[in-house]
Amino acid sequence: MKDDKGNKCGGCSGCSSSDSFADMALKKKGSRRGALAALLGGAATAAASSATAAIATDEEKELKRIKRNEFFQKYYRVMDEDERAVTIKRFERKSKLQYDVDATIDDTSARPNTLFGYAFNISKCEGSRKCIDACITENNQDRTSNMAYIKLFEMEEGIGSVHEGDSEYSHETPVDGKYYMGTQCFHCENPPCTKACPTGATWKEPDGIVVVDYNWCIGCRYCEAACPYFARRFNWKEPEVPKDEINPYQHYLGNRMRTKGVMEKCTFCIQRTRKGLNPACVEACPTGARVFGNLLDPDSEIRWILANKKVFRLKEDLGTEPKFWYYMD
């Protein structure tokens, strides 16, 4: 499992620290698991009738206990390193028990001297929606409610307002006389959503990514109303992802499994980008319309675009300072 993760991410400085937390937690977990095994054995002899049934109920019991601990867990930002490690191990175990998926949840923190930004080339996008599909798969979004962080608006040439666009098109693209504009969370430098949250469950990380602590959110949806860009998505029901489609490479503040009644959103694929990879949407785009990078790196492609192209952002007048620019060839 660890090796898989290593292969996937290619290794970076960020991982090693999180691995050491994980090891620490594993030791703790070992003793707990021992106690559990003893308990399990006792229950099996008591039940005696069917060993498998007894094991099933014990796993159910463990899951129940995990959910109870989950309920009482602290706010992610006030947890110390040990508490974070224990919490992560608990969610990994929950993933095994609930979905039979061996997930690795890392909590790599922001890398120094990093501020992520995004540019979208409206001359190139052909509206294939491959970015949307990749995003849904990568981020373990609920498949039953058609949840998607990205929206693609098909726009009439000559009309510049996204308000006139159509995001519900179902025909083959591209269409003559139309162009396409994608929206998602713009990771504003002045995010109205994080200011609105009554519990501080959503905040802007040092690398500029706006994240949600899914266990701290109380589901009031004030952030969703406050967002000027329709970037937030609420779990109106228990999200469902088929077992074999679950992406096991998860980040605590990113694509780990959510539950009903909490808010979620685009995290610039935090589980990928903090390891130096591109977000899934950028990777999936067949036309190269999507560019992602570090705004503080003067040699990055995104900096080149900002310096050499005519760029614009949505609703500049609000002063939200989105880190998402549109440009044309």
């Binding site: 309920f71 706010y75 006030v78 409610s145 929206k151 608006f153 307002s161 996204v162 308000h163 006139e164 666009g165 995001s167 929206t183 109205p192 200011k195 609105a196 949250c197 009554p198 519990t199 501080g200 469950a201 266990n215 701290w216 959110c217 109380i218 589901g219 009031c220 949806r221 004030y222 969703e224 109303a225 406050a226 967002c227 000027p228 860009y229 329709f230 937030r232 998505r233 609420f234 779990n235 109106w236 029901k237 228990e238 009903k260 009644g261 909490v262 808010m263 609703k315 609000l318 939200t320």
Partner: protein, 418 residues
């Protein structure tokens, strides 16, 4: 200590004793509450998907009703100011009714917020101390503070006054008047802060209007007194408690001026929204005329505005206003009109079109309607209980004098109340 206990016990007994009609009323409220509990059990199990809300219209009739009932709670202050500060004798007698209404309305408002939460069990995350209270940035934390503070004030002041009267003493002014003055400012605070909850959404051109706060106050000071007048007329018919014509007429006048202010501000908004059709006025266009063939709320807002204007016109004529056969129905119409205006016409159109211009409409589901009825049932029960205790203490039907059993006998023998 014992006498406080006695006070509560006799209060409880009073709440559950009355005529057949009264029991029918309680039965109706209980039925509503059961419907609510049933609806909420479905919502709790399945999630908010059981409601009609979705990512486009992410607040529905729960938050709308929350905002409206905060207004009703604030409206009670229209009795408090003349009674305690201008020392009006008529109003002093009935001011506790206004405070009781404030308590019931706040209970409803808070229940609507809880019903709206996706993770209601995690609400403790915002309690200072054990959770993280995102204060002062989040306007929602301000609302939690002002609403609970106002609830505490409106429970404490009447409880103290009634308890003194129950014991046959005059309440000490030095003790309660400072809190009364505080509660006056607080009443303005609750409704302004609740308005700022919406005004602070800078990206929403429908809500982010400086006039919204004052408009909230004006509509609250219309709807609150309108409901109080209806309650007065019920009390006059159903109990031995005397409320003079003068009291009602004075309150009707206060309500009339608030209704004028409300209409002036409503028309100011309408002018601003319709003189120039910018993209920012799409919400108002949706509300009043429908947008791209979507007009679910249009009939409601028009009937609200028309009935609001008609009722205000009616009560403008002194002879009609002082004729209670006209006044009480007019109050009901005004109350209903403002309920629709705040309930359907304020929160929901703010989401239509959505932030990126998409039009997805919203219709409440049965689950939502059941929960809403349940909460209203509970609020009316709270109001009934508070009024009943108030009336029995004020008419001297219960007091700490004499044995408890004797008192109850005497009380029950007394003319059927409410």
């Amino acid at each position: 200590m014992r006498s406080i206990l006695n006070f509560f016990i006799s209060g409880l007994v009073v709440v559950f004793s009355g005529s057949v009609k009264y029991y029918l009323w309680l039965g109706l409220l209980l039925t509503l509450m059961l419907f609510g509990a049933y609806g909420y059990s479905i919502q709790f199990k399945e999630g908010l998907v059981a409601t009609g809300m979705h990512d486009h219209v992410s607040w529905g009739i729960y938050i709308s009703n929350f905002i409206f009932f905060v207004g009703v709670a604030a409206g009670g202050v229209m009795l408090v100011i003349p009674a305690y500060i201008m020392k009006d004798k008529d109003f002093s007698k009935v001011v506790l009714i206004g405070e009781g209404l404030a308590v019931a309305a706040l209970v409803m408002a808070l229940m609507f917020v809880l019903a709206d939460l996706g993770g209601v069990m995690r609400f403790w995350h915002m309690l200072p101390g054990i959770g993280y209270f995102h204060f002062p940035e989040s306007m929602l934390t301000w609302d939690v503070l002002v609403l609970n503070g106002y609830l505490a004030l409106n429970l404490a002041i009447p409880a103290y006054i009634l308890y003194c009267r129950y014991n046959g003493r005059e309440p000490v002014k030095k003790i309660y008047v400072p809190f009364v003055i505080l509660s006056v400012f607080w009443a303005f605070g609750i409704h302004l802060v609740t308005a700022f909850l919406l005004v602070s959404v800078a990206a929403n051109s429908f809500w982010s209007s400086a006039i919204l706060g004052p408009r909230f106050l004006a509509s609250a000071f219309t709807a609150g007194p309108a409901l109080i007048i209806v309650i007065f007329s019920i009390i006059r018919q159903a109990s031995a408690y005397k409320i003079s014509d003068d009291t009602i007429n004075k309150l009707a006048m206060v309500m009339m001026f608030a209704a004028y202010a409300n209409l002036v501000m409503l028309f100011s908004e309408i002018f601003k929204e319709f003189y120039w059709n910018s993209e920012h006025t799409a919400h108002a266009r949706y509300l009043f005329f429908g947008l791209d063939g979507h007009h679910a709320v249009t009939p409601f807002i028009w009937s609200s505005v028309v009935s609001n204007v008609l009722a205000t016109l009616l009560i403008s004529f002194r002879r009609l206003r002082e004729n209670h056969a006209v006044l009480v129905p007019a109050c009901l119409v005004l109350f209903g009109a403002i309920w629709v205006e705040k309930g359907l016409g304020l929160v929901i159109p703010g989401f239509i079109p959505s932030q990126l211009g998409e039009i997805v409409e919203y219709l409440p589901t049965f689950v939502e309607i059941f929960v809403t009825l349940g909460i209203i049932g509970f609020g009316l029960f709270t109001l009934t209980a508070l009024l009943k205790v108030f009336i029995w203490v004020e008419t001297g039907a219960i007091s700490s004098k004499g044995g408890f059993a004797e008192q109850m006998d005497a009380a029950i023998k007394k003319k059927d109340q409410t």
